[in-house]
Amino acid sequence: MATRTRPSVGGGIGAALWLVVVAVPIYYLLATSLRGPGDYMADGPLALPDDLTLDNYLNVLEVGFLRFLANSLVVACGSVALVLAVALPAAFAIVRGRSRALRVAFLLFLLGLAVPAQAVIIPIYLIITRLSLYDSLTAIILPTAAFTLPISIVVLTSSLRDVPGELYEAMALDGATNLQAFLRLVLPLARPGVVTVAIFVGLNAWNNFLFPLVLTQSEENRVLPLGLWSFQTQYGTDVPGLMAAVVLSTLPIFALYLFGRRHLLGGLAAGFGK
């Protein structure tokens, strides 16, 4: 599309309108989070906050928000680690292996893409309670990892398919085993795919609402999205506090957007952006 340098008037007007639709709630979020509780009632929703305060943020931190943040971090890192630990060797075998069983395995993963997590939440609840994992962070990590696994395998296999077979043959000449090829060839070359998968899985775990809602209960194991919800039910009238909590819960992702926008967007569209 590089040749289309003429400005498109229709597109420009539409885009400007949508820009307003996107910007108003974001502005509302930030402005409200900085408003004093009295100002929230007195000012209109979109008024410029005249009296900026960080009190809302301090209040949110006092009601155990850091705990939720830490829990979310554990869930995100745990899910990413689990997915990468099983998906990388599987992707290597699917790309390089010759057995029929591997082809069937890949097909099963592709089939798994079509299973909606929401619709099987009851059997997942059953399995988690039978494993005595109910109300633990592990209970969130396991299904989160399982439901992000198919796309992760698709992304990793497609990035490993680009590795020329000669590289493996050259390593075999030096007497390298599968394990050595995996460690010294596959792992370094799969790096772009690994970044995409890590972001995709991490964001999914960070934002997931349903699994924590159904599989955990105690405040001790509460993750951020549930923490936001319980904040709203507990302190319903403290909207500035709630907005501050929302901003805090988004800060890590926002940092990622600022410093690795390309990677973040790639991870979001993992498996579909091609």
């Binding site: 299973v115 099987v120 075999a172 709203q232």
Partner: protein, 296 residues
């Protein structure tokens, strides 16, 4: 002299952990949910076999029949709003002009927020007393400003919020795909004197049809996840105006603890979700398409 032995090939064992893990948490639940739909289970103890009882009760459940209608309406409205706008803004954002890059950076901001965060922001923004409607409600013929508490408006409000949340993701898909379209196609059309609108319609849209299908399927399958937004915003209300089927399943399973019956609703959801996607793929002939670069 050393002969070149071909490199060793990894065996099935390398993929076994992934498959076992996925089998337990991803595939087995599909079979288990079918089994559970034939039982009565309150979430504790063991499920009791009841045969087709749950299935017989489904057609008589007003929340199922009505919920099905609301689910289909919500899905259709989301598709009809998200697809054309994502296509238009995505191709617009594919241009490399500076203004477009800056605008896109703002467009993508909702991607950074979780479903819970977005639902809670909008709930506060639409608050009848302190939110936007308290100011502009009277102008648009809504004196009490209670958008989410209005039977006929609540569903449209949810459609708008879901559009706000998911448009950037689909834009991203279209933007990436539009950048792959060879510029020679546009140059040729320009030589032929084709207007921008004609170029969009006769080059961009056909070239993006794979993306249109992929994005549409994602919207259809993704309509299951809308349940979280509905739960947080209206909890199915007012009355049952926004009680979509996944929410009914959740309420039956985890509020009323009728897990067997909820599983029957869940099976229905799996069938509808997969059925709709297969239909789209079939009708649009995705399987028959061979080349994405036809005419090159």
């Amino acid at each position: 002299m050393r002969t070149a032995t071909p490199a060793e090939r990894p065996g099935f064992a390398w993929a076994a952990p992934a498959l076992l893990f996925f089998g337990l948490f991803g595939l087995a639940p599909v079979a288990v949910v079918v089994y559970l739909s034939l039982t009565a289970w309150n979430g504790l103890g063991s499920p009791q076999w009841v045969g087709l009882d749950n299935w017989r009760a489904l057609p008589g459940d007003d929340d199922v029949t009505r919920g099905l209608g609301v689910t289909l309406a919500l899905t259709a409205l989301c598709w009809a709003t998200q697809t054309p706008l994502a296509l238009a803004f995505g191709t617009w954002a594919a241009g490399h002009q500076r203004a477009r890059a800056v605008a896109s950076a703002v467009f993508f901001l909702p991607l950074l927020l979780s479903t819970a965060a977005i639902a809670l922001i909008w709930k506060a923004l639409l608050d009848p007393n302190f939110g936007l409607p308290s100011q502009i409600g009277p102008w648009i013929g809504l004196p009490d400003g209670n958008v989410l508490g209005n039977r006929s408006l609540a569903l449209y409000a949810i459609v708008l919020i879901l559009l706000w949340q998911f448009l950037p993701f689909h834009m991203l898909l279209y933007q990436a795909a539009a950048r792959q379209i060879p510029s020679s196609l546009y140059e040729a059309a320009e030589l032929d004197g084709a207007s921008p609108l004609r170029r969009f319609w006769h080059i961009t849209v056909p070239q993006l049809r794979h993306t249109i299908i992929a994005s549409s399927v994602l919207i259809l399958v993704g309509s299951m996840t809308y349940f979280e937004t509905v739960l947080l915003l209206t909890d199915g209300g007012p009355g049952n105006a926004t009680r979509i089927l996944p929410l009914h399943m959740y309420n039956q399973g985890f509020i009323a603890f009728e897990m067997g019956y909820a599983s029957a609703v869940a099976v229905l959801l799996v069938v509808i979700g997969t059925g709709l996607s297969l239909l789209v793929v079939r009708v649009t002939g995705y399987a028959r398409m061979t080349s994405q670069r036809e005419g090159m």
